[in-house]
Structure formats: structure tokens, C-alpha cells
């Protein structure tokens, strides 16, 4: 006979404002098998948990239903409380009265009725719950960090310094990411490369870090603590062990007109190239799409000039298979290009550039060696216009969110321009100035007050070319929306920060969620910002949402701590919610008839054939058997099984049918 306790939480007023919690508890108390029922203001608080624990001990409860928030929030809390009072934690179920009821319906009879139903179905379910024991699995203490920008670098260093092995993969030939492209950083105006490159070198030299550049994740299998990754190391057409990085090949390569990705298309590179002088590793790769030898079958000049014969034209991609215990995704972001803006000339005016291109112009390592010159004719612009929110906060463009970093970098750009072009005039069109952050607002004020940047509140409707000038037409909304027209020499668009191309594909490989903008989704927006919904996979930096450098670094360190915490254990416990094939006494042994449809349905190859032998060792029956180490508990096999011989713990047929029948019989 079941002795079930029902614990109804008010969640302050979050539930009780629309649901009559007292009535829910009273009604539940009358159900068959319920021996204790109570409502309380905060079930998750210490006194709340004590109510549950005391009831378990005093009333000898065999099952617990906590009717409160989503189990995704507090299931571990209440299961732990049950365990502490000596009840098996898997004898605890949660009815979701908050997210699925009180928050989404108006106050009234129907809402309370629904709450009662939700409690009832779980009371019926918990009657069929079984005591389960967590499964113990070993932990592979190696982390995989995907993406070698500042977030990936920081996460790698932090994990490596905690004493664990790290594999860092980067799709480009060098680590460094967007931060390596920046000129100066706000709000201190210190040189980006000066603070970044020492860390890049540290990564390359760290004994705990294995760095694979020009590499991407091919596939991932497994689960927390026990992932198996395949990494594709794209062919660099080079033997890295022999190459000394002298760079002779890059100076002799005849194909010199390829737009440089590092310089955002404002400079050129050769087909065999090192993306930038401080690259780590500082060894070239051959870009096979542009290399004359791969296109025409002739050239091989780099091979001839190489003093160490390191060029390998026939080198193939290499697949590295490795076992890892945790993953940090730090793949960063992309920015919209100028061709995204029809109203600003579809990207056909060369002197309308993106913020990232301006960074390259302002950078001492850039194509103009730090002088602000127009891409079209190399003249120094006397009038420059900066446009904030180019694409961002624009529902019509499909980017309703704020890209967050633009207000700050525009102030920086305008400031850098004023410092470099004396007597130049700079204008910023903005919607709002969002400068939340330590010393951020002060930085923007400095641009306006000390450096004389003209801030105009309003949007720009159109930009077109006339007599060699870019005519910027906008409005000043602080002066009642009067039209403003500026004849500019150059325009910088603070284009929206967006998810990387391929983010969706990577999310699918890793089985993590992503939002409608294709940024990776965190497990909880406030309390689990660096975790994903998939255990053992963490997030760092702008792959989760637009982030500035300090935020990316903080997230990376946060993710690293999560990984280090995971690796501090030798064994992990896993939820025992896995499939099992029933076993019965001889001569039946199991209702499984050995059709093995489940084997083909299982996405984890977790189902094997088991042979049942008699005393003489003769096989008398073949049935399916689930490997508990591999089963992830999806239950696909359960729905496949025609003889109902396989069931999933925690979501058994008995439990699910009881839920549905309990619901509809009184609904």
C-alpha cells in the first residue's frame, strides 16, 4: 500500500496568486494512497525541505509529490531532500504548478482545477515508481575546447592550470579570434594584440594543452565524462614538424591578390600564408582554393624555395579520435557585412565599411599601418560618420536584439579617429547609448566632451554617393526629428553581431540547444549561464549571445571552473533512467521474442543480443539486453517493442498509462 506525501508550494505568491494552493493540498489529501498533504510558502527553503523530510520519517512515506516549479529547476533539490530522509530519491516526482499553470493562466477555478489534475497524475505515477540507484561512470579528465578566440584561450588556460589536459581546436590557421583583429580595446584604449598575444603563446607552450589549429569537430558521441570526439585536422599541405616558420614561401608565392580574412578584405595575402605576423602557430598553410598548383597543376614555387622541404602537396586531412570528459564551446560570433544593407548601398560603396574593418584600419598591424585612410583612394577622410544599430534592434531585419558591444566600440572608433586625424569631424548616429559597465559611461562621455565627437540621436534612412561624397540622410530626433544631411568621406556601420555560420550544425553535432538567432542556449538564463542542457558541455563567450571581452573572459573562467569541478571526481553518478528488458522465470526467461527491432532503433548502439543457455551450454533463447553504460534513456526502443518487453525506468508503461488514466478519469 502506497503512503504518498503531497507537498504544495506557494512559491511566495508565484503560484498562490492564481492557484488555490490550500484547495489543491486538501483535494490531494483525499486521494487513495495519499497519507499526508500540506501546503507551504516556500517548499525549496530549508524549513520547507524539513517539512518533507519530517513527513517521510514520521509518516513512513513511500512516495513524494512536490507540486511547485518546473522539475527542470528543483528536481535535484527535492530528490536530495528525500534521500537525506532515507527515501530513495527516485520515489520523488514534481508537479509543475508554476511554469505550466500559475504563470500561464488567469486566476480562477479552471486554473486551480488544472493544478489539481497535475498533482493527481503524478500521485498515480509515483505509486509505480521504483527505487533506483544512480549509475556510476568513470570520468576522462581531458577537456575539449572548441574555438581559439579569447574565450577559448582563457578556458583552456584555466582548465590546464587546474592540472587537467585540454585539447583546443580552432578552425582557422591561428588562434586569436576576433580579439586579435582589434586595434585598441575599450574603455582603457590598451592595444588588443599586446594583451592577447602573450596568452596565445602561453597556450602553445602549455604542457597540458594540445593545440590543433585548422581543425574542426567532425562528430561527437557519448555523454558527460565519457565523450568520444572525432576531430578533422584539415590538411595544411605542410609538415609542421620540419617547417621552421621562416616565411620565405609566403614572400615568393606568386598569387598575392587574395583578400585577407584577417584584414576583413582590406588587404591581401598570398595562397600560402600566415594570417598575421603574431599568429600562433606561426607556420603557414596552403589555401587550396586559391593556390595555383591545386587549380592548374603547376607552380610549386613554395616547395622549391622551402629550405627544409616542408611542403606536402599530397597531404590529406587527418581524423583524430580522442576521448574527452567535458567540452567548452567558445566558437564566437560573426558580424553582418555591408551588403546586408540595401539602404546603405548594398555594400557597393567601398568607403562604407563595417566596424571590424575600421578596427583593421586603426590597427598598427593593419593594411594602412594604423592610418585612417579610405579604402577607395587612400585619402584621409575629413568627415566620418558612424552608424550605431546597423541591423541590431531592427525587427524588420530579423535582429530585434541589441548587439551590446557597438555603443562602446563606436565611441572608441570616433575617439581613435579624432586622435589620429587632427581637425577631422566625426558624427555618431545612435538610438540610445547603452554603456553599462565599469568605466563605460565615462568612456563615452570622454568621446563626446573631450574629443568633440558629435552625437546625433536618430536613425539614418539612406546613404548614396554624389560628387565623390557619401550623402548620409538622417534625422535628429532630439530636435523634433529635423532632417540632417552630412556629406561624409567615409561611413562606418556598427553592423549587428550574429551567430556564426554553422553554429546550428555544430549544435546538432553536440546535441545542445540553440535559440532562434542560432546562438547556443544556456541551461538557465540567470543561474546556469555557462551550462548547456546537455550535461558536460559548457559555453563561453559570444557564441551564447553578443559579449564583450571582459564578459567572454569571465564566462570562460566560469566554464573552466565547471569543468575542473567535474574533473575533481573520479566517478560520476548518472541518472538510472535507462531501458531494461524484462526477465522472467524459466522456461519463459523474458517476454522478449528476439526480433531485435530495438537494436536498429537505438541511437547509441546500447542494445546487444543476449543468449540464454541451458545447463548443457545450449542456446535456448536469444533476447535483447541493454548495456546500462551506453543507454541514455531516450526510450525509443520502448515505443518500438511490439511485445512490450523493454521498458524505461522512470517512464515505464505502468507509470505513463497511470498518468493518462488518472488524468482523464476525473478530468
Amino acid at each position: 500500500m502506497s503512503k504518498i506525501g503531497v507537498f504544495v508550494c506557494h512559491c511566495g505568491e508565484n503560484i498562490s496568486a492564481t492557484v488555490d494552493c490550500v484547495k489543491v493540498a486538501e483535494t490531494a489529501g483525499r486521494y487513495e494512497g495519499v497519507t499526508f498533504s500540506v501546503d507551504y510558502k516556500y517548499m525549496c527553503s530549508d524549513p520547507g525541505q524539513s517539512i518533507i523530510k519530517n513527513a517521510i520519517i514520521e509518516k513512513g512515506l513511500t512516495g513524494v509529490v512536490v507540486a511547485s516549479c518546473s522539475p527542470r529547476m528543483h528536481e535535484p533539490t527535492f530528490r536530495k531532500a528525500c534521500a537525506e530522509a532515507g527515501l530513495n530519491p527516485y520515489m520523488c516526482e514534481m508537479a509543475n504548478l508554476r511554469e505550466h499553470c500559475s504563470w500561464v493562466h488567469e486566476k480562477g477555478e479552471a486554473t486551480t482545477e488544472k493544478a489539481i489534475d497535475l498533482v493527481r497524475i503524478l500521485v498515480e505515477k509515483v505509486k509505480y515508481n521504483q527505487s533506483l540507484n544512480a549509475i556510476k561512470v568513470p570520468v576522462t579528465k581531458t577537456a575539449l575546447v572548441i574555438g581559439g578566440g579569447i574565450a577559448g584561450i582563457q578556458a583552456s588556460l584555466d582548465i590546464a592550470n587546474a592540472g587537467h589536459k585540454v585539447i583546443l581546436i580552432e578552425k582557422d590557421p591561428s588562434i586569436g579570434g576576433h580579439m586579435s583583429q582589434l586595434s585598441e580595446t575599450f574603455p582603457t584604449l590598451d592595444c588588443s594584440q599586446c594583451i592577447l598575444t602573450p596568452r596565445m603563446v602561453e597556450v602553445a607552450q602549455h604542457p597540458n594543452i594540445t593545440l590543433y589549429t585548422y581543425a574542426e569537430l567532425e562528430s561527437l558521441e557519448g555523454f558527460i565524462g565519457n565523450f568520444k570526439a572525432k576531430i578533422r585536422r584539415k590538411s595544411k599541405s605542410l609538415d609542421e614538424k620540419i617547417c621552421t616558420g621562416c616565411g620565405l614561401c609566403t614572400t615568393k608565392c606568386p598569387n598575392k591578390k587574395i583578400p585577407s580574412e584577417f584584414n576583413e578584405g582590406l588587404g591581401t595575402r598570398t595562397a600560402i600564408y600566415v594570417p598575421f605576423p603574431q599568429a600562433v602557430p606561426n607556420k603557414p598553410v596552403i589555401d587550396r582554393i586559391h593556390c595555383t598548383y591545386y587549380i592548374k597543376g603547376k607552380c610549386r614555387i613554395c616547395e622549391k624555395v622551402c629550405p627544409t622541404q616542408a611542403i606536402r602537396f599530397d597531404q590529406e586531412d587527418q581524423i583524430v579520435e580522442t576521448e574527452i570528459g567535458a567540452i567548452v564551446i567558445a566558437t564566437g560570433f560573426a558580424v553582418k557585412q555591408t551588403d546586408f544593407f540595401p539602404e546603405y548601398g548594398y555594400g557597393k560603396y567601398p568607403d562604407i565599411i563595417t566596424g571590424l574593418q575600421f578596427e583593421r584600419l586603426a590597427s598598427a598591424s593593419g593594411p594602412t599601418l594604423g592610418e585612417i585612410r579610405r579604402p577607395s583612394d587612400g585619402k584621409i577622410p575629413e568627415k566620418i560618420v558612424f552608424l550605431a544599430c546597423a541591423g541590431s534592434r531592427d525587427e524588420a531585419k530579423g535582429i530585434p536584439y541589441c548587439s551590446k558591444i557597438c555603443c562602446m566600440y563606436i565611441a572608441k572608433h570616433a575617439m581613435l579617429y579624432q586622435h589620429k586625424v587632427h581637425g577631422g569631424k566625426s558624427y555618431v548616429f545612435y538610438m540610445d547609448i547603452r554603456a553599462g559597465g565599469k568605466m563605460y559611461e565615462e568612456f563615452v562621455r570622454r568621446a563626446i566632451e573631450d574629443d568633440g565627437v558629435n552625437y546625433i540621436r536618430g536613425r539614418v534612412s539612406r546613404i548614396y554617393e554624389k560628387n565623390g561624397k557619401l550623402i548620409v540622410k538622417g534625422a535628429d530626433t532630439l530636435l523634433g526629428g529635423i532632417p540632417v544631411e552630412i556629406e561624409a568621406d567615409m561611413v562606418v556601420l556598427a553592423t549587428a553581431g550574429v551567430a556564426n555560420e554553422g553554429a546550428e550544425e555544430l549544435a546538432q553535432k553536440l546535441h545542445v540547444s540553440y535559440d532562434s538567432y542560432h546562438f547556443f542556449a544556456e541551461a538557465h538564463p540567470k543561474l546556469k549561464p555557462v551550462e548547456t542542457n546537455t550535461a558536460g558541455i559548457f559555453l563561453a563567450g559570444a557564441c551564447q549571445a553578443p559579449r564583450d571581452i571582459p564578459e567572454s573572459v569571465s564566462m570562460a573562467s566560469g566554464a573552466a571552473v565547471k569543468v575542473a569541478g567535474l574533473f575533481s571526481q573520479d566517478e560520476l553518478t548518472r541518472e538510472p533512467l535507462i531501458a531494461v528488458v524484462n526477465r522472467q522465470a524459466a522456461p519463459v526467461y523474458s517476454s522478449c521474442v528476439g526480433c531485435f527491432l530495438c537494436v536498429s532503433a537505438c541511437p547509441y548502439q546500447a542494445i546487444e543480443k543476449e543468449e540464454i543457455k541451458n545447463r548443457n551450454g545450449e542456446v535456448i533463447k536469444s533476447i535483447a539486453k541493454v548495456n546500462p553504460g551506453l543507454c541514455q534513456g531516450c526510450g525509443t526502443c520502448v515505443a518500438f517493442c511490439r511485445t512490450k518487453s523493454i521498458d524505461i525506468q522512470g517512464y515505464t508503461h505502468e507509470q505513463m498509462y497511470s498518468e493518462v488514466m488518472a488524468l482523464l478519469n476525473e478530468y
Partner: protein
Amino acid sequence: MADFEPKIVAFVCNWCTYAGADLTGTSRIKYASNVRIVRFPCTGRIDYMLLMKSFDEGADGIIVSGCHPNDCHYTSGNFHARRRWIMVRSLCDFIGIDIRRIKFSWVSAAEGAKWADIVNTTVSEIRELGPYNDYKKVAKRPLKEVSHG
């Protein structure tokens, strides 16, 4: 049928739609209170006999919802669910269950508003169709006396 309140059961997966419905809550988006969510680990776990049973037990409509194609937490459970749904759909049609009573959809963990929308549309559509009485007509029995547990 204006005052008819349909009984709708939703079978959802833990990783996408359950979380999506949580998001509807955290975003405080209001929707019709006629739906009761039953949590499964994955849509691939949903045994379609349970759908038949739900109609037998008196449901007027059913929602089955999981992760979008390719987004399944378990790689392919939602594909199995979809494949099975295509078959069950024709079966239901064949045996005379109005297939408009079963809504099959994808709602991701980020689609709180979509969940509210699906519930509201389903409720108003089922309200139009009226209560599902076919089982009751052929098998007369006092439903409340069915024992369980």
C-alpha cells in the same frame, strides 16, 4: 459548442517542448488552461497505443510535441516519432478518428510563444469539433469506476 471545454492531453519531450512550455511560463505568456502536459524523455518514447488509450479514456484532443528535426537531444528520437506518426495518422483516419484531434508539432526550448500559440489553436479547433464521443457511444461504461493503482 461555445461552452464546451475540451480535454486536451499533451505528450511532450523533456528537452525541447517541456522546456519550451517552461519558457512560456517564465515569459508569462497566457494560454488556454485546457491542456495537461505529460512529460516523456523523448517523443521517440511515445507509444502510440497511449494515444488510443487517451481517446478511450475521454480525451477530446491530443498534442504530441518534441524537438525540431535534427535537434533531438538523443539524435533521432523525433525522427522515429515522426515516422510513426505518419503511419498512426493514416490508421486513425482509417478507423474513423478525426485526425484534426491530434496535433503533431515541434516546439524548441526557445519557442515559448509558439507553445502558447499551439495550445490556443488546438483548443479552439477542438472546440469547433466538439467532444469526442465515439468510444463512449460503443462501449458504455461508467468511466469513474475504472480502477488503476
